[in-house]
Symmetry: C2
Subunit: 337 residues, 2 copies
């Protein structure tokens, strides 16, 4: 361990003297509490995520990408609520205060924070096994936050961006599958530096009926919406499979849908149950289709309609001929995996 | 590990169906974000603390006291700002989902939360080395939060409650010192179940000029006030030594002040540099002495005046005859200790 004390450490890598703060941040780092003054009338959206070494990232991960990802997964929760970021706190447990590691970590963290005008307002540092806990704050107009509980039968089911690459990269890094180097590099970028869909989330306020971010797998996270809304869903397998990114080695998975194709079955599994993509899954009434497409275009975020909400509970994955497609699409659970 | 999944775990031990929420909590556990609506015009005070097994508590600590302490250290930060608690998030990394441990932990946590009308509004659970990160939210009228930066030369220095017992208990538990069983039990209570001075903090709004909570040691935490306010302080050793709790075996440390007494020197060291007491150290103009005493009485919290703020930087500990008392009062630093 270098001879850097806790307070010196905070000052050197995390206080950014002279860096402009949004008007809602009355007081940032350095006191017992940070002080926020949300825009008058707005509600405050809050989410907290903890990332543990060996569980959410490899211990030898590039610290700059770790800094990015730790904040990205939290911003993704704000995105899923349609909230505008205000700031975040960081609690950091480190085995040692390694200046090179901290320099890279804070650089990756702040690059993403600056892109979203979301300053670090406080936190904690301690010595211990590598663990990062970020709590993020955003604001939304009252009654306009996107919740999981308002999906209705007949709504469309939509997904942003592409799905499955992060899980594909993880399998390759764990030697469960083999990928060409260029494919792995592209997929790994999705795993290690996900893009939180903050602008899309805000654009969907008043349009989407329900939303969640895809952290544990599409069917698992859609399942949270279904459970809290008391509805079910049908997913079109032929549409879902197109969500596997062009970057993945999925050429053979494209084309006419064939459940007997092992390549297509594998691609479908990555799309439906792969975690860590941090896209949004959301529902919207059918009359909002044009508005959803405009929200996607306006936020430079691809959106794809992949199914519909049903009154009957449960999720059915359907082939183009309407027959159910079977598969093991268990979602990731931190205490069962 | 028992066969309890993450979501079931959250539901069983942390969702409290039917438990009343304050009106400021629009949406609690179960969505991507919690939603708060602070009282119109109020500022939001935020603090985050991370507790690591083996660093902040013994791995075999009673989980009920751990639940209490994890929230108490965060409420103590709100107290130091004079904020009224609104709610908190909990991120929890656990080696295993042990129902008995979780039951006791959540009971200790919620007993303190309920006492302060401060509900759990969200969080995260994952598998990994035992680590708890709580982020707490409170509110204060604009401009009335107690900060570290507004102490002025001539102000009195005050401390709430008693100091030193937590450090004394820690030394005894680490076999660095020996204590009679009853004394250890009382001191250990202070170490494991500190009382956040939330009511006192609120009562000091508009009276105290600056405040901090004593987590790392009196001189260290007072030092944060001095640094940010650009001032120094003189502490009266004979007054400070009286802060060692009656519970501690300090009978021989009381009476006329004598720097040559090893018992008094040891007691003074516990008072000045012992951490983990979670009392408040605060400053107030001399004309507010009566108001400070009333704030203490009104919140059932003893308050003791132990010194004064000076224009000259640095801290002097003074004997009754005005001569400086010397000692090693290094404060606790998580990366140097």
């Amino acid at each position: 361990m270098s001879n850097v004390g806790e307070f010196e450490l905070i000052a050197r890598y995390f206080e950014r003297a002279g860096h402009p703060l949004p008007t809602q941040v009355v007081l940032g780092i350095g006191d017992d509490c940070a002080l926020l003054q949300p825009t008058p009338g707005m509600q405050l959206a809050i989410s907290s995520d903890m990332l543990v070494s060996g569980r959410h990232f490899f211990a030898d991960v590039d610290p700059a990408t770790l800094g990015h990802k730790a904040l990205a997964v939290n911003l993704s929760d704000l995105a899923a609520c349609g909230a505008t970021p205000l700031g975040f706190t960081l609690a950091l447990s480190l085995p040692a205060a390694d200046p090179a590691w901290l320099q890279a970590f804070s650089q990756g963290l702040f690059a993403l924070a600056d892109r979203h005008h979301c300053p670090l307002v406080g936190g904690d540092t301690t010595q211990g096994p590598l663990n990062l806990c970020i709590t993020v704050f955003g604001e939304t107009p009252p009654g306009q936050a996107l919740l999981r509980s308002d999906a209705r039968a007949g709504d469309d089911v939509w997904v942003s961006g592409t799905l499955g690459d992060a899980a594909l990269a993880l399998d390759a890094l764990l030697s469960r599958t083999a990928l060409p180097a260029a494919t792995l590099a592209a997929a790994r970028q999705r795993l290690e530096q996900p893009t939180p869909r903050v602008a899309l989330g805000q654009a969907l306020r008043g349009i989407a009926s329900a939303a969640a971010d895809v952290s544990d797998g599409l069917l698992g996270d859609l399942g949270h919406i279904l459970k809290r809304s008391g509805v079910g869903a049908e997913i079109d397998a032929a549409l879902a499979i197109e969500l596997i990114a062009a970057s993945a080695d999925s050429t053979s998975a494209r084309g006419s849908f064939d459940t007997a194709s092992p390549a297509q079955a594998a691609a479908l599994r990555y799309v439906l149950s792969g975690g860590d993509d941090y896209e949004l899954v959301f529902t919207a009434p059918a009359h909002q289709r044009e508005a959803v497409l405009q929200a996607g275009a306006g936020s430079n975020t691809p959106v794809t309609r992949i199914g519909r909400i049903t009154a009957a509970a449960g999720v059915q994955v359907l082939a183009p001929d309407g027959t159910p497609v079977r598969g093991d699409w268990t979602s990731f659970d931190h205490f069962k995996a």
